[in-house]
């Protein structure tokens, strides 16, 4: 076995000997302890044999000029090394690449989390502990991070960290058993001003009656109950359906002042040379006006003519389109109020009021809802 391996790695040259009585070469080699392998007579006057790299020159010298020696093939580590000995940069870069690969394999690049939904939180914990660096550092900090993971969430039963190759695997076991929710203490109070429609007391004592006007923060259900002469503290539970009013208002002016164009028009002309005003014709004597400008540029000349058309305007008072304005105001107010109303509230009634006062139109929108106003106080 070893011989086979050695023979595959050893270097040899296949030489073709040309001449008469080529068997003489075999005897010369035999007498001088030169090993020949795979000796084959290819022709009457030619013989081929494998000679080791170390014996080639000696054999050629012994054979002399009587026979012609032709190298047919060269094989082996010796010849490969000789052919590549000038390729220093190639071997150096191969060495550097291998060294870099070995170095990179000692670094941690990937963190994988198994058995926990909030993977980002765990990855962040691992990174903050400095585990995403050299593998040796990661192994040293594994226990510390494991304890930190368990402490971060009370539902985590155990965690395990495995550092293999360039990856860290974090295994987490969560406590998925059913938990009895703990009862919250405190009375139930009204979250806003309202009129109680229906008070349902599941546990505790009701402090208001149906149809009563209550203010925000007023106790609706108290966490106490009386049995005989003894008073017990209980967990207040219940529901309070109440009418709640949402209100918004906006004022719209009844008249509007606008500047209207008249028939009085003037044209002013000015000339600019190299960007500076060289001349101007006409002047503006209107108190209120609008202007339009037209610029004319001359080709290849630094000359610009500006024509300004001035139209006189007059103040005019016009009546507002009340219907359109009130419709728009109403829709805006309704949209605003609806955004304030909770999603579980039921709309009961919507009212819009229009009122003229001191030259203004007041638009008011009222929305009545039925909703549960009981909240833990």
């Amino acid at each position: 076995m070893l011989k086979l391996i050695r023979s595959n790695f050893s270097s040899y040259t296949r030489i073709k000997f040309l001449g008469l009585n080529t068997q003489k070469i075999l005897n010369i080699a035999s007498q001088n302890k030169i090993v020949l392998k795979n000796v084959v007579r290819t022709d009457y006057a030619s013989l081929e044999a494998d000679v080791s790299a170390q014996d080639v020159k000696r054999l050629k010298r012994l054979v002399g000029e009587e026979y012609k020696c032709i190298s047919v093939k060269r094989k082996g580590v010796y010849y490969s090394a000789a052919a590549n000995k000038k390729r220093v940069s190639l071997f150096a870069s191969m060495l550097i690449a291998v060294a870099l690969l070995i170095t990179a394999s000692n670094r941690i690049f990937v963190v994988r989390v198994h058995g926990y939904e909030n993977k980002d939180k765990i990855v962040q914990l691992v990174k903050e502990a400095g585990m995403v660096s050299w593998r040796q550092t990661a192994l040293e900090k594994a226990q510390q991070v494991k304890d930190a993971i368990i402490a971060s969430d009370k539902d985590i039963l155990w965690s395990s960290i495995s550092v293999k190759g360039s990856a860290i695997d974090v295994y987490i076991k969560k406590d998925n058993s059913l938990k009895i929710p703990q009862a919250q203490k405190g009375n139930l109070v009204a979250s806003k001003d309202c009129v109680i429609k229906n008070l349902v007391v599941t546990s505790g004592t009701g402090k208001v009656e149906n149809g009563q006007l209550v203010s925000a923060g007023q106790t609706l259900i108290e966490g106490k109950t009386t049995l005989g002469e003894t008073e017990f503290s209980v967990h207040a539970e219940g529901k309070a359906l109440a009418s709640v009013w949402y209100f918004a208002t906006e004022e719209i002016p009844l008249t509007e002042s606008v500047y209207e164009k008249t028939d009085n028009v003037k044209i002013m002309r000015s000339v600019k040379v190299f960007g500076m005003t060289a001349g101007q014709k006409g002047n503006n004597s209107f108190e209120h006006f609008v202007s339009e400008q037209e610029r004319i540029k001359c080709f290849f000349l630094p000359l610009e003519i500006i024509d300004t058309k001035i139209t006189e305007t007059k103040l005019k008072i016009i009546q507002t389109d009340i219907e359109a304005a009130s419709r728009e105001a109403e829709s805006q107010l309704k949209a605003r109020l609806l955004s304030e109303i909770p999603s579980d509230a039921r709309l009961f009634e919507t009212k819009t009021l229009l009122q003229e006062q001191d030259g203004m139109l007041k638009v008011s929108v009222y929305i009545e809802t039925i909703e549960n106003v009981a909240v833990r106080g």
Binding site: L26, K33, L47
Partner: protein
């Protein structure tokens, strides 16, 4: 020179005393130890000197797989071995 009879009686290796030896493995390999030279090499016949005598190995596709000092290995289909002198 140790007597051949003594070597044979004691079961000592013959090649250690310079006595030529031919070993035939099936009909594909032949090892000749302590030969005195090669007279001819052909694919049908290989002639070698063993001490004073000439031995011819006849066969098909014969070639010398290794020639090392006084040891010689022949491979190929060996049909007959004969003393020519």
């Amino acid at each position: 020179m140790v007597d051949k009879t003594v070597i044979h009686s004691f079961g000592l290796p013959a090649e250690s005393a310079g006595i030529p030896r031919l070993s035939l493995w099936d009909d594909n390999f032949l090892v000749a130890e302590n030969h005195k030279g090669v007279l001819d090499v052909k694919s049908q016949c290989v002639k070698i000197y063993l001490k004073e005598r000439l031995v011819g190995i006849n066969g098909e596709n014969l070639s010398i797989s290794e020639l090392d000092g006084c040891n010689l290995k022949i491979k190929g289909k060996i049909l007959s071995i004969e003393y020519l002198t």
